[in-house]
């Protein structure tokens, strides 16, 4: 039985010790904060709910559907956990899921567990939360916001988490940046669609049977805005850094070299992937960053435009 549907659980040996340890520190700090928030904001009811929902997400990753031929779509679960539990509890739930997968099923390593928690629990949840809240606010309580928000949150959380994984592998000198980032981004753009479709289906089911579970999941404001900004920054940073690293792998390999792991930077004889460069901008680094920012803005612009036209068309469909 394949227990890791999403090829994102990094095993031990694939990340340099420095990357592993830095990401452990970051993850521990965020988990500690999440524990405090969950202990403060949420009732005692939350403990059994978090445990059982973590088990459900683990089990839910087994549910699949055929896409074409032998490939199938699966669930990672960060988005649905965020929507059902709120961001802080979702971080803890996803941490538990990733932790059990590593400890018991060797799905992902133990020394690199901090990195896997960072990618799937923290990046996944923060990005999901940011997108979902944004679409919800635009939708203003109408139902399509739930589904559009759910789909985009699921898709983008998988995609950004994959970018984070690829970047960590590249910084560790395990995979060449230009290949790893494009391969991970490409594969997970498709996997993310499966994630998005299942998430929307699950939300539709829950909305039809227990709509009360999907409302009022927004506790005290304030530091949740911090998470929203965090999610946006992570998404932007990865979308900017990835093409940059991909177009200019030497930069990353310099980082790797600083760690004493890479023998030398290389000049590829097999330049398979053309660089991301904007025409008309002479500085290559600047051009790649601009291209990345432009891409994000276009995606956001399209999403906003679609959202606003929907809003105008059905002015009184809110419940």
């Amino acid at each position: 039985m394949l227990l890791s549907p999403v090829a994102m659980h990094i095993p031990d040996g694939f990340l340099s010790p420095r990357v592993s340890i830095i990401l452990w520190i970051v993850s521990i700090a965020i988990i500690a904060y999440a524990l405090r928030r969950v202990g403060k904001d949420l009732g005692e009811r939350q403990l059994p709910l978090m445990g059982v929902l973590a088990a459900a997400i683990f089990a839910g990753q087994m549910l699949n559907f055929t896409v074409v031929g032998g490939t199938s779509g699966h669930l990672m679960g960060a988005a649905i956990a965020t929507i059902l539990l709120g961001p802080w509890a979702a971080i803890l739930v996803m941490t538990t899921v990733v932790g059990v997968q590593a400890l018991i099923f060797q799905d992902g390593g133990l020394v690199v567990l901090g990195a896997n928690i960072f990618n799937m629990a923290i990046v996944g949840v923060a990005v999901s939360y940011m997108i979902f809240r944004t679409v919800q606010r635009i939708a203003g309580g109408r139902k399509w916001g739930l589904f559009v928000g759910g789909f985009l949150a699921a898709w983008l959380s998988v995609e950004i988490a994959a970018l984070a994984t690829a970047l960590e592998l590249a910084v560790s000198g395990t995979s060449p940046a230009n290949l790893a980032i494009l391969a991970m981004a490409g594969i997970h753009a498709l996997i993310g669609i499966g994630e998005g479709l299942i998430t929307v289906g699950a939300l539709a089911f829950i909305n039809a049977t227990r709509p009360d579970l999907l409302s009022a999941k927004e506790p005290a404001k304030g530091s949740n805005a911090l998470l929203w900004i965090g999610g946006l920054l992570i998404a932007l940073a990865l979308v900017i850094v990835s093409p940059l690293a991909s177009a200019d792998p030497d930069g990353l390999e310099w980082v790797a070299e600083q760690q004493g792991f890479l023998i030398n930077a290389q000049s590829p004889q097999y330049n398979i992937i053309p660089d991301y460069v904007l025409p008309g901008v002479s500085n290559e680094a600047l051009a790649t960053i601009l291209a990345g920012v432009l891409g994000v803005l276009i995606v956001f612009g399209v999403a906003l435009a679609v959202a606003y036209t929907r809003r105008g068309r059905q002015p009184s469909s809110s419940q």
């Binding site: 095993p11 031990d12 010790p17 088990a55 549910l63 032998g70 060449p176 479709l197």
Partner: protein, 266 residues
């Protein structure tokens, strides 16, 4: 319960199984950290590390074949490191023409790739030994000993307790879908319906699973309340580590320390 086969714990009477779970947990983490710290191409250290893991496998009574078979399952990720064979600069070993490009295998690239694969393989075996020789409740004790917060340990514990129940639910949902959709089970047959429809069915199953989890957690909460739960996670104090435990811990850490020194010297 149909899915107890998921639980990797294998009951044996070996010294490894008797060892205090806290010592095992810390030593396995330290071992994997040492593997991670070993530089690329330090072959003698790899051999020593592999010898350690292999001798513990023999000592554990689990069967070397069992551990090695499980370890292979975790390896497909090695593909991610495959390109370094060609992209690391160094003395060329072999040139493969692919269309208009030439892929050059370098000596350094090959050494790097084999090192990554070996490190990952040795680490996975250590992790398997831990999981196969320690029941999960003992791992929770170890987590508490390394000061993981009680709330998080409690979530881990609850997740483990209901994992098999919910995996069973998921398997029932999948069986129900297979029964209703006339699945032939033959490879190569076309799946029914359109993609969006199949995705919606799977999504409905996931939603169903989450709803059952919600309702189950409500019942669990009521059951906990009726047994005196007041929102506080309590646990009995951990017993002191016995002398044998201390001895193994200190010896183990000393050996691992020596290996680090060795890998620096080489």
């Amino acid at each position: 319960m149909h899915v107890h086969f998921l639980d990797p714990y294998r009951r044996r009477a070996s010294p490894l199984h008797r060892l205090d779970p806290r010592v095992k947990f810390i030593l396995v983490l330290a071992f994997i950290l040492v593997v991670a710290l070993t530089p690329i191409g330090a072959w003698p250290v790899y051999i020593l590390l592999f010898a350690i893991v292999l001798s513990i496998e023999i000592l554990s009574d689990l069967g070397v074949a069992y551990v090695l078979k499980r370890a292979v399952l975790a390896l497909p990720f090695v593909l991610a490191a495959l390109p370094v064979i060609f992209t690391t600069q160094g003395a060329p070993l072999l040139e493969i023409p692919v269309g208009s490009w030439t892929l050059v295998i370098t000596q350094e690239g090959l050494a790097r790739f084999i090192s990554i694969a070996l490190k990952s393989w040795i680490s996975v075996q250590a992790a398997i030994l831990l999981a196969a020789s320690t029941p999960f409740p003992d791992l929770l004790v170890a987590m508490r000993a390394v000061k993981i917060p009680r709330l998080l340990v409690a979530v881990f514990g609850l997740m483990w307790r209901y994992l098999f129940v919910l995996v069973d639910e998921a398997l029932r949902l999948m069986r129900a879908r297979a029964a209703r959709s006339g699945e032939t089970g033959q490879a190569g047959t076309k799946p029914g319906g359109r993609l969006a429809w199949r995705a919606r069915v799977a999504g409905g199953m996931a939603g169903n699973l989450f709803m059952r989890a919600f309702e189950r957690s409500d019942r669990i909460y009521v059951a906990m309340l009726s047994r005196g739960y007041d929102g506080e996670v309590r646990a009995t104090p951990l017993p002191a580590l016995n002398q044998a435990g201390w001895l193994v811990l200190i010896l183990g850490l000393a050996v691992l320390g020596l290996l680090i020194v060795l890998s620096i010297l080489i």
